[in-house]
């Protein structure tokens, strides 16, 4: 059961279409599995409709309607053929790729420490967005860290506790620079895979963790 949700500001930004590319991908993955948050986005979209009703209109060009009708009379743009699916690294059985990653390239799993792997997610429309997957083995912990900017996390499978709350499959977390946390996996549970994005970089505490963080560039 999903217990951790994005806050209203993020859901409003999703409805307004003002999220940056990385946040859009990670929040999108949560929305795919969370009817409650989809409803909230629809509420804010309704506010968008109300905004459109109350906004002071801006004069269109004199021939605007004629131009629109000419565009309607022209051939509608041909539907793009569906792109072939992009190669994906392996996921545990029963875990699906979020649709929000459909257009992204996802690198193979790379080593970043004992029992810890990561994968780079690259969005074609925003190659600079810092989006990645973390795959942490059962009983392991990610190094204590903070963030230079907002960190958004969506749990694909497994669960962890970071001292603030427990996060399981489908849960969403937003942690800003004021949050210092160390995600620890539950000892008896399986591995945990998270989709995350950071505005800026992760800032690890220990020297070795810092070195690894610098090495992998997340």
């Amino acid at each position: 059961m999903i217990t951790q949700h994005p806050n209203d500001e993020l859901l409003l930004a999703a409805a307004a279409g003002t999220l940056d590319a990385g946040a859009d991908i990670v929040l999108g993955a949560h929305l795919e599995g969370c009817a409650q948050c989809r409803r909230a986005v629809r509420v804010f979209e309704s506010a968008g409709g109300a905004m459109l009703e109350s906004i002071e209109p801006v004069l269109m060009a004199p021939d605007a309607l004629a131009q629109a009708l000419a565009a309607i009379d022209a051939e509608p743009p041909a539907a793009r053929p569906a792109a072939p699916p992009l190669p994906r690294p392996s996921l545990p059985p029963g875990v699906d790729w979020p649709r929000s990653l459909a257009a992204c390239t996802v690198s193979r799993w790379r080593w970043m420490g004992p029992g810890m792997r990561w994968s780079r997610v690259t969005a074609p429309h925003a190659p600079d967005a810092n989006v990645f997957l973390l795959r942490i083995g059962a009983g392991k912990a990610l190094a204590d860290h903070t963030h230079s900017g907002l960190e958004l996390t969506h749990v694909l499978c497994g669960s962890f506790h970071d001292g603030r709350a427990r996060f399981g499959a489908g849960d969403f977390d937003a942690a800003d620079g004021a949050v210092r946390h160390q995600p620890v996996l539950e000892p008896g549970g399986g591995e945990c895979i998270c989709l995350a994005t950071v505005q800026g970089r992760l800032v690890f505490d220990g020297a070795i963790a810092r070195w690894i963080g610098a090495l992998v560039g997340i």
Binding site: G49, M60, A68, A71, A82, H125
Partner: protein, 194 residues
Amino acid sequence: MPTGDEFVELVRAVAVAGDRSAFAVLFKHFAPRVKAYLRRSGMDPELAEELAQETMVNLWRKAASFDPARAQLSTWIFTIARNLRVDHLRRQHGTQAVQDVEIDGGDASAGSEPVEHDAVQLDEQLDATRRETAVRQALRQLAPEQLQAVWLAFYDERSHARIAGDLQLPLGTVKSRIRLAVIHLRRLLQGMEP
């Protein structure tokens, strides 16, 4: 000005009969509002004009998929304009538009929803009319400056800075006004739930 129901009838006339005079009435009402929204989102006048026209062309092409039981017409048109705006920003930064990364369950992208979400969607559809009414009621109860803060959340960051300048407020204050307005809006909506 036609009423909400009359607007819905006009969309139906576009969908079933390709009625150009119905389209002209819709265009006259909505295109200048869409253009105003896009201008406030930071687009220059030429681009806002172009995308406002494109929004209306999309309304023509997708008219048959508009379902008044799922969203008010203005909400549907807003999502079309928003998607075009996001797509445009993406094309600027990258290779091409991303296909179907809809987060709204596909209101503005007919027929692209996978089958497994049908059950959820039906549930979402049932309370759409109530939702649209409740949101407008809640917005009416907001103080003018809070309402303005909600609208700001739909615009571009640069317009936040501009408004902050106009009101002689720090940008952080404008941002926290938006946050407080959203909290208030949520509280009002929760009070309306049965």
